[in-house]
C-alpha cells in the first residue's frame, strides 16, 4: 500500500489548518503525546526510546576510548549517526546513508555539540593521547512525522542515561575499574520543529502534514533560552518575520518539554 496521501486529504489538512485546527484535534502549536523510556539496551552504555505520537526512534550510545582530535587535545569526541531503518517506512530503502539520514544526523549533532550538552573536558583521560569517544546512533524505527525532534529527544535521553566506565592509569597503562560514572552533561537542549502550511507555523508535523507543508524550520534551544542550532529544510521559504515567530514558539515549547521531563 503506497504511503502517498490523496489529494483530497491534503486539501482537507490545508483547509483545517487555515481554520487553526489539525486532523488529530491538536492545536497548531501542540506536540503529539511524547513517551520516553531509558536503559532498554543493556549492551549499550546508554539508550533511550522515544515515542512522538506514532513516530518511534531508538538511540543507543556506545562509549569507547580513542585519540582526541589534534586541535582539541583535551576534549572527548562525540559523533552522531542516524539510520532510516527500512522497516520504519515504505519509502526507506536499505543501503548507504542518503541525504535525508545525513541531514538528520548532522542536525541532531549540531544541537548537542553547539550547546556543549556534553562536558567534553571531563571525557579527557590523558591529554593529547586518550579520551572517551561517545558514539550516538539514532535508529528510526517508525516514521510518522517529525524525525528531527524525536531523534533529538532520543539522543539527549540516551546521553542522560549513559554511563562511562571507571578507569585508572597504572604504570602508564589504562586499566578499567569497577563501577561507572554518569556521562557529564552541562546542558539539555531541546529541538523544536515547525512546518509551514498556508503561511501557518505548525509544531511537530505529522507525516501527512509533512506532505502538505512546503518547508520546515528546526531550532535547538537550551535552558537559558539561547538558540544553539537552526536548520531550514524543504523547498519553500520563510519571511524574516515568520522566522522570528518560529524562534518565539521554539523557546516556549522547549521550556514546556524540559519541564515535562524534568531536564
Amino acid at each position: 500500500m503506497s504511503s502517498l496521501v490523496t489529494r483530497v486529504k491534503l486539501k482537507q489538512i490545508e483547509q483545517l489548518i487555515e481554520k487553526g485546527k489539525r486532523l488529530d484535534d491538536r492545536g497548531l502549536h501542540d506536540y503529539r503525546p511524547i513517551k520516553i523510556e531509558q536503559g532498554l539496551i543493556e549492551r549499550a552504555e546508554g539508550s533511550a526510546r522515544v515515542f512522538l505520537g506514532k513516530t518511534e526512534v531508538l538511540c543507543g550510545v556506545k562509549v569507547e576510548t580513542g585519540e582526541p582530535f589534534p586541535d582539541t587535545p583535551n576534549d572527548g569526541v562525540m559523533t552522531v549517526n542516524a539510520e532510516l531503518v527500512p522497516l520504519a517506512s515504505p519509502n526507506f530503502e536499505p543501503g548507504p546513508p542518503g541525504e535525508d539520514s545525513v541531514e538528520l544526523a548532522r542536525v541532531v549533532d549540531r544541537g548537542i555539540r553547539e550547546s556543549h550538552a556534553i562536558d567534553t573536558e571531563k571525557l579527557c583521560i590523558e591529554p593529547g593521547k586518550k579520551v572517551f569517544v561517545v558514539f550516538v546512533d539514532v535508529y528510526v524505527l517508525n516514521h510518522d512525522g517529525n524525525l528531527i525532534d524525536a531523534s533529538a529527544l532520543a539522543a539527549m535521553s540516551a546521553l542522560m542515561n549513559t554511563k562511562m566506565p571507571n578507569y585508572e592509569i597504572k604504570d602508564g597503562e589504562l586499566k578499567m575499574k569497577q563501577g561507572y560514572t554518569p556521562l557529564p552533561m552541562k546542558s539539555h537542549p531541546v529541538t523544536v520543529t515547525m512546518g509551514k502550511i498556508s503561511n501557518n507555523l505548525i509544531v511537530d508535523p505529522w507525516i501527512e502534514e509533512e506532505q502538505v507543508m512546503d518547508s520546515r524550520i528546526s531550532l535547538a534551544i537550551n535552558e537559558d533560552n539561547n538558540i544553539c542550532a537552526i536548520q531550514k529544510g524543504g523547498s519553500g521559504y520563510f519571511t524574516p518575520q515568520q522566522i522570528l515567530e518560529a524562534s518565539k514558539i521554539a523557546q516556549e515549547k522547549s521550556a514546556e518539554i524540559r519541564k515535562k521531563f524534568n531536564w
Partner: protein, 245 residues
C-alpha cells in the same frame, strides 16, 4: 581547552582582516565562463573561489528519478581536494551531502518546477578554494548559472552569512572567524519576494543576537544581489551601435 586569548575584533571594532563589523569581503562575479554548460558562473568572495554550472532543463537519467508533473532540481556541492588547508579526500563527505541538500532546497523556491514536467536541471558547484562562507558564495554563483541557462526564475537567490565573534555580531565571517567565533548564521534570500530560502545556525546566540545576525545577513544579501544583477547584465550588455564608433 584551546584558550585563544587573541581577540577577533579589537576595541575600535576592526577585525583581524581589517574589516569593520558590517563590512563584506571583496567580491567578484562572472557569468557564462564555461562553454559546455547551459549556464555558468564564477565567484570570488574573499579567498573563496567557486565555479557553478547548470545543465538543463533536459531529460533525466535515470528516467525513474523524473517526476511526471514537474521539473526536478539536482545539486552537487563538492570541494576540490586542494581547496582546503589539509588535503581533502575527493569522496563526498557528510558535510558535502548535507550542503548539497540544503543548497538544492534553497534554489528550488526560485524555479517554476511545474513548467517543464519530466525534465531535470543539474547544478554542479565546485569549490576550488575555501575560506569560510562557501555555501553562501556557492548559492550566489549557482543562481547566476541557472539564470544564464535561460531557466525561468522567480528571482535570483543570493547567499550571505553573519555571526558572532567575541561579543560582537558581524557580517560575512571568513574561515578563522567561523572556527574561533561564537556563532555562524548562513542565509540565502530572494530580495524581490522577501523570502529566506536557506537558514542554518551553529553556535550559541540569544534570540536578540540571532535576530540581529539574521537581519545583518539579509542586508548583506541585498548588497550582493546588486552585484549579481550587474554580473548577469554585463554578459548580455547591449552592443554599441556601429554608427557610434
Amino acid at each position: 581547552m584551546n584558550e585563544k586569548t587573541e581577540k577577533l575584533i579589537d576595541k575600535k571594532g576592526i577585525r583581524l582582516d581589517g574589516r569593520k563589523a558590517d563590512e563584506l569581503r571583496p567580491l567578484k562575479l562572472q557569468v557564462g565562463i564555461l562553454s559546455n554548460a547551459d549556464g555558468s558562473a564564477y565567484i570570488e568572495h574573499g579567498k573563496n573561489k567557486i565555479l557553478a554550472a547548470a545543465f538543463g532543463p533536459r531529460e533525466m537519467h535515470p528516467k525513474h528519478l523524473s517526476q511526471p508533473d514537474k521539473m526536478v532540481l539536482r545539486c552537487r556541492y563538492h570541494m576540490a581536494p586542494f581547496s582546503v588547508q589539509e588535503r581533502k579526500s575527493p569522496a563526498p563527505s557528510r558535510r558535502e551531502v548535507e550542503l548539497s541538500k540544503v543548497i538544492k532546497e534553497c534554489l528550488e523556491p526560485a524555479l517554476f518546477l511545474e513548467l517543464y514536467p519530466r525534465t531535470g536541471v543539474d547544478v554542479y558547484i565546485e569549490v576550488l578554494q575555501a575560506d569560510g562562507g562557501t555555501r553562501c558564495a556557492s548559492i550566489t554563483a549557482a543562481a547566476l548559472a541557472i539564470a544564464d541557462a535561460g531557466v525561468p526564475m522567480r528571482d535570483l537567490v543570493v547567499g550571505c552569512a553573519a555571526g558572532k565573534i567575541d561579543d560582537t555580531v558581524v557580517l560575512d565571517l571568513y574561515d578563522a572567524e567561523d572556527k574561533l567565533g561564537a556563532a555562524d548564521v548562513p542565509v540565502a534570500y530572494m530580495p524581490s519576494l522577501n523570502a529566506v530560502t536557506l537558514l542554518q545556525m551553529d553556535g550559541i546566540l540569544t534570540p536578540d543576537e540571532f535576530e540581529k545576525a539574521m537581519n545583518m545577513a539579509i542586508d548583506g544579501c541585498k548588497k550582493i544581489y546588486e552585484m549579481q544583477k550587474e554580473a548577469l547584465k554585463t554578459k548580455y550588455m547591449v552592443v554599441k551601435e556601429e554608427g557610434e564608433e
